[in-house]
Symmetry: C2
Subunit: 230 residues, 2 copies
């Protein structure tokens, strides 16, 4: 083969394929409904069809691609209805995590959450969307971990990744940044005082709002986003 398959090192070939293809889907580079031809993908990444097939299988299990027997794979196309169901699920899952976090977070976890949350306030003041996004992700991850429930954690992360393609532009909405922080603040406050019911409700509301914000973009997401190849 040509180069030592430089991009995306580490892990087995299949892992690389999963990441390579998955990234392109999550970032919107490959658009819903787009055909995923095994042969072309294999050629594109300079591997044989076997690891590509396995990667498509895994991505299918993740819900990112749809596989039709004997008819090839396409990037999963989600109906507006199914999208709504995923957002609703996400709200419930986050609510559970927040509720459990309020009950179970260790004092050091609470401290960490508080500190990160306050740090992210600076990003809001600066209006740094990109940086805030990092803190946002970290914030939610802390909630998932704080729930101290491996399985819920897994389900939540899975659902979140599946929603990723539809969430990416949410912070472009004017004022969304500050609002997001305030919503986080409600959650943090509730967790700090151990109010599991309030924490759950605040988390649910937070996701619901994100859901609506994203829906705006889901609609005009049809415009060509195609960039350079990788």
């Amino acid at each position: 083969m040509s180069g030592k398959r430089s991009l995306i090192r580490s892990g087995t070939t299949v892992d690389q394929m999963v990441r390579a293809i998955g990234d392109r889907i999550v970032t919107g580079y490959l658009r819903p409904g787009e055909k995923l031809d095994e042969t072309s993908l294999a050629a594109r990444f300079d591997v044989s069809r076997t690891p590509v097939r396995e990667a498509l299988g895994r991505l299918s299990a993740m819900g990112l691609v749809e596989r039709r027997p004997n008819r090839g794979a396409i990037v999963a196309v989600v109906t507006q209805e199914h999208l709504a169901s995923m957002f609703e699920s996400m709200a419930e899952l986050e609510a559970i995590c927040a509720r459990f976090s309020a009950e179970r977070m260790t004092s050091s976890e609470r401290r960490g959450l508080e500190i990160e949350h306050q740090a992210s306030a600076r990003m809001v003041q600066l209006g740094a969307e990109e940086d805030y996004e990092y803190f946002n992700t970290e914030f939610h991850s802390r909630l998932y971990r704080g729930a101290h429930n491996a399985h819920i954690h897994e389900l939540t992360v899975m659902t979140r990744s599946r929603l990723a393609p539809f969430r990416r532009a949410q912070f472009m909405l004017p004022g969304r940044l500050a609002k997001s922080w305030q919503e986080h603040d409600l959650i943090v406050t509730a967790i700090m005082r151990g109010d599991s019911v309030a924490a759950g409700q605040a988390a649910r509301d937070h996701v619901s709002i994100v859901s609506e914000a994203s829906a705006v973009f889901a609609a005009d997401d049809r415009k060509p986003i195609r960039r350079h190849v990788a």
Copy 2:
């Protein structure tokens, strides 16, 4: 190849493998930690290693088998802690389904639920564990569908199947049958009067009790079940 691969017809070869191996895991025929050798499985089912590999991949995504790169696959071994987290998740998921069902079930869905539930009462009187298990599964499925949320449905079914190996003996506990029905009754009643909070709580409690009942069996599940190699 020899015979027309008679067992488990329909679907692609991989589907058959997934079902064949998955069944053996879910029913406890293959025990946690047991090595799943690709070559032997391929020989056993008279197919090549390729579909077996893909099946193992899917089962791994389902959480039924654990795959260690270059080191083969084993039947997923869950720690007591992770098992507890799955049961807890299940309780929360069922609670969500019951809550949504109370709010969203159509009148015909409500009618169907009620009828099935009443029918299952006969199984309790007869002490027919096997038959009751069918109604039980059906009952929960109705709850999942009644939530009218495709994604929650998916997560719930996935979690349920993953718990299947640890639930199978629950109805062997004396008196569990009648208690189960009474718990179902609480859920049904709450749903019928549209009391989402009560429905959710009843469903959560129901699963929690099942969880404890199953834990009893999870402990002495270590005894050798090994039979002939299928």
